[in-house]
């Protein structure tokens, strides 16, 4: 996790893992992970820099999309909900993080142009100029992602992230200063537009689960990102004062979603299978097949036979879905 000051680019917190005091491998700086949808704002910022072609309400086609290029396998991005949504306004395509619409938009603008935006946002790592990079096949560290979002959060002014202000002698005389540097990487207008779109992500999009934690008038902007099977779960968000990047995953690239677990309602009176209507009902995880099959009397499905109870089984929700309500 990385937290910075949006205006000065000063790093305020950097946590490398569950054991924050561990002095070795620091994931916030050293881990390079696929960023998933976190790169999408660069695509939309590139688009919104051309107001004659794109505005926040320009219809974008979220129909099935196939990208063929010589020397690379065909690329056919799917949406998270496995559906296509037809024509959607540009801001909705970002708020809902639609992959097909975004891939179409990105290839329409041109991968090279989008990568130029990524560089202007402050990412120095060379990203490969493939269409799949658009949807976040590129790997970055949380600190690099923080630099990218910092430039957006600061209204288009890029400031190199700093963790040290100055080095002083024992008497406090400064030996070396790391001065605040700003560089105008983007005109203010397109950055205002992308910020409004990213506020939409929190207000009505994939990060709306945050609304239950944050006051509405704070105007938080953000973007979620996940990779297949929740191997990587990202969130980048900012307000006027602070920017935070969070990455969650396993070092060995294991899926965070555990398929071997099911969540089952248990009636604590009988310790049998109940449902949410039972008094004091608990939703507990069970290893696949080990939950009680017999129903408690409080379960509302009348006359249910033991063999059909599997309909109440649902896949364990990941922490990600619990927070963001996806």
């Amino acid at each position: 996790m990385v937290v910075t000051d949006t205006q000065s680019g000063e790093v305020q917190a950097l946590v490398g893992g569950r054991d924050a005091r561990y002095r070795g491998y620091n994931r916030a700086v050293d881990a390079a992970r696929p960023v998933g949808s976190l790169l999408k704002p660069a695509i939309y910022l590139t688009a919104l820099s051309e107001p004659a072609r794109y505005t926040l309400i320009t219809p974008i086609d979220d129909g099935p999309f196939l990208w063929k290029s010589r020397g690379a396998p065909d690329w056919q991005p799917q949406n998270y909900d496995k559906k296509f949504h037809g024509m959607v306004p540009l801001r909705v395509a970002l708020a809902q993080s639609y992959n097909a619409a975004t891939a179409r938009l990105g290839t329409e603008i041109g991968v090279e142009k989008v990568l130029a935006t990524v560089r202007k946002l402050g990412v120095e790592r060379e990203l490969r100029p493939f269409a799949s990079t658009l949807l976040g096949a590129a790997e970055m560290s949380p600190l690099e992602v923080a630099q990218l979002y910092q430039t957006i959060a600061a209204g288009g002014f890029r400031s190199p992230l700093r963790a040290i202000r100055e080095v002083t002698t024992q008497e406090g005389r400064p030996l070396q200063r790391y001065a605040l540097k700003v560089e105008q990487a983007f005109a203010p207008e397109p950055v205002i537009l992308i910020t409004a779109a990213l506020q939409g992500v929190v207000r009505e999009g994939t990060a709306q689960g945050l609304k239950s934690f944050l006051p509405a008038d704070i105007g938080a902007a953000g973007k979620t990102g996940t990779t297949d099977d929740q191997r990587d779960a990202w969130f980048a968000g900012f307000t006027g004062d602070h920017l935070a990047i969070v990455w969650i995953g396993y070092d060995d690239n294991r899926a965070a979603q555990t398929d071997g677990i099911e969540q089952v309602w248990i009636d604590p009176q009988t310790n049998l299978r109940g449902d949410s209507q039972c008094a004091g009902a608990l939703e507990l995880p069970f290893m696949q097949g080990s939950a009680p099959r017999e129903r408690s009397p409080c379960a509302t499905v009348a006359g249910a036979v033991v063999d059909t109870v599997d309909t109440t089984v649902k896949k364990a929700k990941s922490w990600w879905e619990r927070v963001f309500g996806r």
């Binding site: 000051d5 949006t6 205006q7 000065s8 000063e10 209204g155 002014f157 202000r165 100055e166 400064p174 200063r177 001065a179 605040l180 540097k181 700003v182 560089e183 105008q184 203010p188 006027g240 004062d241």
Partner: protein, 120 residues
């Protein structure tokens, strides 16, 4: 060439200013702490202690990051330091918070042009 372009608004031992900068604004918008830092930054800049002046302004900006006067003051120090690229972008940063304060914008524009001329 830049030696004559000092724009510190304080009277005192600063090199002779080519143009007179507008009088310093110490209005009610700054908190006491920030006004104090701004004042000491001006004194340091006038005395040629430019890194110290910049450090005070950065400290003030940590308190009031949206204060366009602080960004402008920092831009002026960068100009004096001969860091023209930073002078220009820092003045642009000031503009981004300046709203419709036309006097402030005009002064930022002056700094930007001066920085550009010096870079040529």
């Amino acid at each position: 060439m830049l030696a004559g372009c000092a724009t510190a608004p304080e009277p005192g031992p600063a090199p002779a200013p080519v143009e007179q900068a507008p009088p310093p604004y110490l209005g009610p918008r700054e908190s006491v702490a920030v006004a104090g830092l701004m004042e000491s930054a001006r004194a340091d800049a006038a005395a040629g202690r430019l890194p110290t002046a910049a450090a005070s302004l950065e400290r003030a900006l940590r308190i009031e990051p949206r204060n366009p006067r602080l960004w402008q003051e920092l831009a002026r120090v960068r100009l004096q330091q001969g860091d023209f690229a930073q002078a220009e972008s820092t003045a642009a940063r000031s503009n981004s918070w300046a709203g419709n304060d036309s006097a402030l914008r005009a002064e930022n524009q002056r700094i930007i042009e001066q920085a550009r001329a010096a870079r040529r």
